[in-house]
């Protein structure tokens, strides 16, 4: 039997199981929105937790066999939620329409908490804005990383915090025991310590810290649905944001930058520079324990999978590479032009949240044209970059309103990928 398809023989410190009483409650906050819980709690199809199929052994008959399959329920919920998200998107969009980059007042407010190796959030508040460094390096790195990200938002994207209105930036460190992950829970970034064998603490990388806040930024602009191609675009945007904040902090040009997400998070002995390369997706690591970086750099190698929400961390390699190619063509500091185009693309809120690669690509070309002019070097760079990953963009000039500032004033929310 070889069932370990991607990452065999990973050693890991087993975690003590949480008490069973924790079962009924969520282990940490924000994974499923309350309205979904309510909707499904009322639904007769909410009960099954398994797909139907013949029971192979008599012992197995107790888990809701014969009820509608999990996938059916999930798909229904997905459609419902997608519709909800579109509605919400449209309701909120007009307030920020035509504004693009925002300049609203606000000040940096940071709060770092310590989960003290539990999985309870937010944990105990250990350092807030203006307080001196503490003895715990993870706390200080998270604090500093949030500060770097805030400065990037303020100075380059000209907005206060991730919501454009000075939202407090919150982080929790020491989540779980040897927890091999960092995530955005909808309100805060959360960092595990890593198991020490494969992963170090996830706070050591500024690009990872900023990546998580990139998800937060999207949540407050175009909250690309976290599944399939829109999910891969969500991941890609977070990667782009992550590396740009790091490049800005280091003052690196396109040529000087590593274009690696997560430098330093692999433990000693692991063969890898980080978890992803925007310059050369698929080359970030190649290790006997980890396996090889599975990212495609071109549509030809697009990965179809049910795992990872449809491969959102895998296929993000394609738009990542397109961003790199744009930045490479334009030179200088990547945040100045390529970053501006990508940020405008989500900040304008023209795209539907379930946009695919092609729709997103088209919008970046349109934004480049509106910012820099028709057939400008910038527009050509963006177009060529997408062509380089197998996506050809054709803009149809439907009317004369596509000029300055990029908006055609059709007044409809949700946008359309089809212009």
């Amino acid at each position: 039997m070889s069932h370990s398809d991607q990452m065999p023989r990973l050693e890991r410190t087993p975690r003590p199981a949480p008490p069973s009483s924790a079962l009924a409650s969520r282990r940490h906050h924000g994974a499923i929105p309350p309205y979904l819980l309510e909707r499904l709690a009322r639904s007769a199809t909410a009960r099954p937790t398994a797909i139907p199929g013949p029971a192979a052994e008599p012992d197995e008959g107790e888990w809701g066999t014969g009820a509608p399959g999990l996938d059916v329920v999930a798909e229904l919920a997905r459609r419902t939620l997608l519709a909800d998200e579109r509605m919400r998107h449209r309701r909120e969009a007009p307030a920020r329409r035509h504004t693009g980059m925002l300049a609203e007042p606000g000040t940096l407010r940071r709060e770092i908490s310590d989960a003290e190796n539990t999985e309870r959030l937010p944990g105990r508040l250990v350092r807030k804005e203006g307080q001196d460094p503490v003895a715990d390096a993870d706390v200080n790195r998270a604090y500093d990383g949030l500060g770097s990200t805030y400065r990037f938002l303020e100075q380059i994207l000209e907005q206060s915090s991730i919501d454009g209105a000075g939202l407090a930036l919150e982080g929790t460190v020491h989540f779980g025991v040897g927890y091999d992950n960092a995530f955005w829970d909808g309100e805060r970034m959360v960092f595990g310590d890593g198991d020490g064998k494969v992963f170090n603490s996830f706070t050591v990388s500024l690009s990872i810290i900023a990546h998580e806040l990139g998800h937060g930024l999207l949540q407050h602009t175009t909250d690309l649905a976290y599944r399939g191609q829109s999910g891969a675009l969500n991941e890609s945007f977070a990667d782009v944001f992550g590396v740009l904040v790091e490049q800005f902090e280091r003052g690196h040009t396109v040529e000087e930058a590593s274009w690696i997400v997560g430098e330093g998070i692999f433990a000693q002995g692991i063969q890898g520079r980080g978890v992803r390369s925007l310059e050369a997706p698929g080359t970030a690591y190649d290790d006997p324990v980890l396996g090889k970086d599975p990212q495609p750099a071109h549509m030809d190698a697009y990965v179809r999978t049910r795992e990872d929400n449809g491969g959102v961390h895998v296929n993000s390699g394609i738009p990542n590479r397109a961003f790199y190619l744009t930045a490479e063509a334009l030179g200088g500091h990547a945040w100045e032009k390529a970053g501006k185009i990508w940020f405008q693309t989500v900040a304008l809120r023209e795209l539907p949240v379930d946009v695919d690669f092609r729709g997103f690509a088209r919008e970046t070309v349109r934004v480049a044209r509106s910012l820099y002019g028709r057939e400008s070097a910038e527009e050509q760079a963006v177009r060529a970059a997408w062509r380089g990953v197998g996506l050809t963009v054709r803009l149809t000039e439907s009317n004369g309103k596509n000029a300055k500032n990029g908006k055609n004033g059709n007044g409809k929310g949700g946008g359309s990928g089809g212009r």
Binding site: M1, S2, H3, D5, Q6, M7, P8, L10, R12, P14, A17, P18, S20, A22, L23, A24, R26, R27, G30, A31, I32, P33, L36, L37, L40, A41, A46, R47, P48, T49, A50, I51, A55, A56, D59, E60, W63, L70, A74, R78, L81, D180, N181, F183, D185, G186, F199, H211, E212, Q219, R227, A238, I265, V275, L290, P294, E307, D308, N309, H313
Partner: protein, 105 residues
């Protein structure tokens, strides 16, 4: 009984899969697995009978505001469950982690 577990997603995007096979009625080394499986299965029933918890246990890929969270796919015999990391707990989590840790190769 055959159990296969995949943990995908996470900010690193590195998937891990493990599988074990054991006899449900056994006095041998399989007895520990069988006991853990039964406890996990009981918790699965609890999951499906409690309001709110049920969809959580069953909706691994549903949209939420969480990003970079692990996604678990558990195959217990002929059943397939998708569970977000934030909802996998108790004996079910213990079983899933044990399969990942020990069910390699």
């Amino acid at each position: 009984m055959r159990i296969q577990v995949t943990r995908s997603g996470g900010v690193a995007g590195i998937s891990r899969t493990g599988a074990v096979e054991f006899r449900l009625r056994s006095d041998g080394p399989d007895a520990e697995w069988a006991a853990l499986y039964r406890a996990a299965r009981d918790e699965g029933e609890q999951l499906s009978s409690e309001d709110g918890a049920a969809p959580a246990g069953g909706l691994g890929g549903a949209p939420s505001r969480a990003r970079d969270a692990f996604q678990w796919t558990l195959r217990l015999g002929s059943r397939r469950l998708e569970i977000p990391d934030s909802y996998l707990s108790g004996a079910l989590r213990e079983l899933a982690e044990k399969v990942l840790a020990e069910g390699q190769g």
